[in-house]
Amino acid sequence: MIIVRFVRGVNRNVSLSALPEFPRTAEPRAKTRPTLPASPHTRPVAREDFAEVLARAQAGDEAAFSRLWIDLNPRLVRYLRMEPGRQAEDLAAETWVSVVKGLKRFRGDETAWHAWVFTTARRRALDDARRRARRPQTSGPDALDHLAARPDPRPSDGTDGAAEALRLLSTLPPLQAEVLALRVLAELPVDTVAAMLGRSPGAVRVAAHRGLRTLAARLSREGVTH
């Protein structure tokens, strides 16, 4: 019920013309860094002219890279927020550092671009999971303080529909949750997701199928209860 209330009113078909207009030709490098455009949307703004934007970003155009970042970073953060206890923003920043390092060498279309960025983010997340696993387990009041001081990466105050959707998504089995996240947030096809996760395309299809059916069942029950 809560989710239904939040997701209503979200206009998915946001026109690309409403997004900030970026110069089509490379302009001289500005002294000040470009400011964040207002009301960025998670829709892939670079879809129509991705090749041109990517080429400009690879040539050093800050506006083009800004467009790529605004296009993908919110989805990246949401993907990383699915697992509790993960510093999604920090991992996203590490991901972009790696992406910037290899940006000039990247070749491919927008799907390949999404796959590359999300694969990088997934590796950073696995590295972070290993670091946290090696970290000595603290107990006592200090550990509790540490957990209390850490902000909840998935706010569930009812004002963020994406956060609530992530919360529900994270209740799914990990494979189903990750398959759905990669297919929805990264907009990756089945084969790409299968390659990223080391699973067969059939297993990915089944995971997505079962995950959606599970969510539908849960939402149906929540709607009845609420």
Partner: protein, 305 residues
């Protein structure tokens, strides 16, 4: 992404709403499939919410990302000019060295040309004979139809005594032909100036003349009857004893020629008259040094051409 792939049982398939593959794909794209179970619409809304507008917490890394990007690309753009500068300096050094080498080479060639032109007078004899030869060849060619030139050559070889032995002993001027008038003229000059120094013993031409006259003592009488070459009637007749000459304007001007002191040029003129092909090569060589003497900038033009 997850550390383990253990999936706890959520629910039996019988408890889950039925979704076809097409409906699943539509849900993943954010569409609401038609004729589905009650919870499917909400699942579609959930998928739609996942791609909803970004919130502030999802854009906090913007400045850091742009800083990373600008630092990375400004470092590349700043290192590229250094490489370009190094490359351009190397290329500039090579270019400068090449230009300097070319300039030195051109200067050396120009200096050679200038030196050659400056030493023109001393080297001129190498070219001047060709020039004089060409001019004399031209003059000889203009006079070639007239057999009097043969008498001239005979006179020169007779005077300096450098004529080839075969030419003087075997041929000599024909005192009974068109050369008779010239021979007589020369004999008359010799008789008036030097007496009888030139006799038939020392000169083949005079011996021929004496033979034609029937003896040295009859030369005066013979020459008195030799017609002038300009007389066409006498030419047509072919004999020189029948009618006296009436003109004398053409060959009279050539009479002083044997007395001209131009002995060194005559062998060249004769040799080059025999080889007309020397004319094209002689013309540029005689004209080339001349401008280089007057205009020092010409050597460069000569080199480039």
């Amino acid at each position: 992404m997850t550390s383990n792939d253990f999936e706890p049982p959520v629910a039996d398939d019988a408890d889950l709403p039925h979704l076809s593959d097409g409906q699943v794909e539509a849900l993943l794209r954010g569409h609401r499939p038609a004729d589905t179970a009650p919870g499917t619409d909400r699942a579609a809304d959930l998928v739609h919410a996942l791609t909803g507008p970004a919130v502030a917490s999802e854009l906090t890394g913007y400045r850091a990302a742009m800083t990373t990007y600008t630092d990375a690309f400004s470092m590349r753009t700043s290192s590229r000019p250094r490489r370009l500068l190094l490359l351009s300096s190397l290329l500039g050094a090579r270019t400068l060295a090449g230009v300097a080498g070319s300039a030195l080479a051109l200067g050396a060639v120009g200096a050679v040309v200038l030196t050659t032109s400056a030493l023109g007078p001393s080297h001129a004899p190498e070219a001047l004979p060709l020039a004089t030869g060409s001019t004399t060849t031209t003059a000889a060619s203009t006079h070639a139809p007239d057999d009097a030139d043969q008498s001239d050559d005979a006179d020169e070889s007779e005077k300096d005594g450098t004529g080839s032995g075969s030419a003087t002993a075997a041929v000599g001027p024909d005192a009974k032909g068109p050369a008779a008038f010239g021979l007589c003229n020369a004999w008359a000059h010799h008789q008036a100036e030097a007496g009888t120094t030139a006799t038939a013993d020392t000169s083949v031409a005079f011996r021929n003349l004496a033979e034609a006259a029937g003896g040295e003592g009859k030369i005066a009488g013979y020459c008195a009857n030799v017609p002038h070459p300009g007389n066409a009637a006498a030419k047509a007749r072919g004999s020189h004893g029948s009618t006296p000459g009436s003109g004398g304007k053409g060959k009279s001007t050539k009479a002083p020629k044997p007395a001209k002191p131009t002995k060194p040029t005559k062998p060249h003129s004769s040799s080059h008259s025999a080889s007309p092909s020397a004319r094209p090569t002689a013309r540029p060589r005689t004209s080339a040094p001349t401008p280089s003497l007057t205009t020092p900038s010409r050597p460069a033009v000569t080199v480039t051409s």
